[in-house]
């Protein structure tokens, strides 16, 4: 699986959302979005879920959010979690 990394920790609102949606539109079956953010981006997660994507979120010990989104909802995203 190809990882498309989006480090949004230093991006000003609403850039993280804007860039993530751009990536989601181009995602294929063999790739997934790996987003690192300072907040839990609920609107993005809901949008992705409504479109049938697979979504996994995890808050690290350093209070950073790791959000994994794949076009193929059958993929076990836990395996790709990098914390």
């Amino acid at each position: 699986m190809k990882k498309i990394l989006l480090d949004a920790r230093d991006l000003e609102h609403p850039k993280p959302l804007e860039r993530a949606i751009e990536i989601l539109r181009t995602l294929d079956e063999e790739s997934y979005l790996y987003m690192v953010h300072r907040k839990n981006p609920i609107p993005l997660i809901e949008l992705a879920k409504s479109q049938g994507f697979g979504v996994r979120t995890h808050e690290s010990n350093t209070n950073e959010w790791h959000i994994l989104i794949s076009k193929n909802s059958q993929i076990v995203l836990d395996e790709y979690l990098d914390v």
Binding site: D10, L11, E12, H13, P14, L17, E18, I21, L24, R25, L27, R38, K39, N40, P41, I42, P43, E46, L47, S50, Q51, G52, F53, G54, K71, N72, S73
Partner: protein, 426 residues
């Protein structure tokens, strides 16, 4: 928008609820400019009809419209408050508020018949108390409060008391009550409306949005946890004491000045600590707002020692600049984002990008117009003809905002009608 609390945009109201409050606020802003065109330097005499009218166009017409619009949008997503049937609630609030404001302005200027005051009071009182009531009720029920939701609660409580005092004042002006406590009630009304409502609401929103929009360190917890309720508590305490000890007013104003200056300096410091030092117009709107707040409060303190019309007028101009600067900063963040995100969440492939809804260059131009308006108003106290320029700039400023809202609405409807919905195919 800005969801951090586990709730989504789906729980926010339809975009048009927010846009129509903003549109009404912008039209009242145009009206403020027209009023300035007619009244000119009369507005600098605090006891004049011109000053009372101009103040109420700005506070009731402009600020209240923008702030209610922002609250309808932000309460669900910032504070986690769900307002059911938002369109119906917005109708109950907005239409009587507009008619009531216009009737009150009419009564101030043309026809002080008691029934006009009574109807204006009824419409404004019911609509504003209804809005603050439903919002307060939902906020109080929240199991977990953030600094912002606590602050919003304090601000809405201040608004409710300010409105009750306003009803009392209107009933006196309409001849329904004797005016034995008129001055103390008027003083408490102004303080609660300006510091308690406008000031505390801006403070509580900034606790959330400064960190999020501009990637800054958070506010110190000591400030974000306590400031809003300390301000509200002091205003209520001094408001009650003023009925017996009116001479305490300088102490109250000095304490307000101290607290608000500390807040403004922390905000300016946070804005200088942004992780990405890219500066857009909205950062500068915040900076102008905070700078204006500091200067307004310094003038408020100076008034205790040298009370001249110039100092009183300058303090008022800077306070208005504080509030309007923050409104403009939020406007240029909220309108493009909402338009873009609502369309994206509905799956429109051709949803315009945010800069296509409102281009950052327009915000930058507005910044210069806003600054020029502020400078003209300040100088017009010494050179009266400049009020004409300030009035025209104000009309242009709010006229442009009205146009931008209509443009965003047009873009939104056009995309919904003609746009192709994307299916990400997942």
């Amino acid at each position: 928008m800005f969801s951090q609390q586990g709730l989504s945009l789906e729980q926010a109201p339809p975009i048009f609820v927010v846009l129509r409050f903003f549109f009404a606020g912008s039209l009242f802003g145009v009206m403020a400019g027209i009023a300035l065109l007619f009244y000119r330097e009369e507005i600098f005499d605090p006891s004049s009809v011109a000053a009372v009218t101009f103040t109420h166009i700005l506070t009731l017409g402009v600020m209240l419209s923008f702030m209610f619009g922002a609250l309808f949008q932000m309460l669900p997503v910032i504070a986690g408050v769900v307002l059911s049937t938002p369109v119906q609630k917005a109708n109950f609030v907005q239409y009587p508020m507009i008619v009531g404001t216009l009737m009150l302005l009419w009564a101030f200027n043309f026809d002080a018949q008691s029934w006009i005051y009574a109807v204006a009071a009824l419409l404004l009182g019911l609509s504003i108390l209804y809005a603050s009531g439903i919002m307060l009720q939902a906020l109080i029920k929240l199991p977990n409060h953030s600094a912002s939701s606590k602050g919003m609660t304090a601000a809405l409580a201040a608004l409710s008391i300010a409105v009750l005092l306003a009803l009392y004042l209107v009933l006196i002006r309409g001849g329904y009550l004797d005016g034995s406590h008129y001055l103390a009630a008027k003083e408490a009304h102004y303080s609660l409306a300006l510091f308690g409502w406008i000031g505390v609401l801006i403070i509580s929103i900034s606790f959330q949005v400064i960190e999020m929009f501009y990637v800054t360190p958070p506010y110190p917890p000591a400030a974000s946890r306590t400031l809003a309720f300390v301000i509200l508590g002091l205003l209520v305490l001094f408001g009650i004491l003023a009925f017996v000890y009116p001479q305490l007013r300088p102490l109250k104003e000095s304490l307000m000045a101290l607290l608000l200056i500390v807040y403004a300096l922390i905000t300016l410091r946070r804005l200088s600590q942004r992780k990405r030092p890219i500066t857009d117009a909205t950062v500068w709107f915040w900076r102008i707002g905070m700078g204006s707040l500091v200067l307004s409060m310094l003038m408020l303190v100076a008034r205790q020692f040298v009370s001249t019309e110039w100092i009183v007028g300058t303090s008022a101009i800077f306070y208005a600049a504080f509030a309007l600067s923050v409104v403009f900063a939020m406007f240029y963040k909220i309108v493009p984002f909402l338009t873009w995100f609502h369309l994206n969440s509905q799956g429109y492939f051709a949803a315009p990008m945010m800069h296509e809804v409102i281009h950052p260059k327009i915000a930058k131009r507005h910044l210069w117009i806003h600054l020029a308006t502020l400078v003209c108003l300040l100088l017009s106290q010494a050179f009266a003809p400049l009020t004409l320029v300030a009035a025209l700039l104000m009309i242009f400023s709010f006229g442009q905002m009205s146009y931008l809202i209509l443009h965003a609405r047009r873009v939104y409807i056009k995309t919904q009608k003609e746009g192709e919905r994307f299916d990400m195919g997942a």
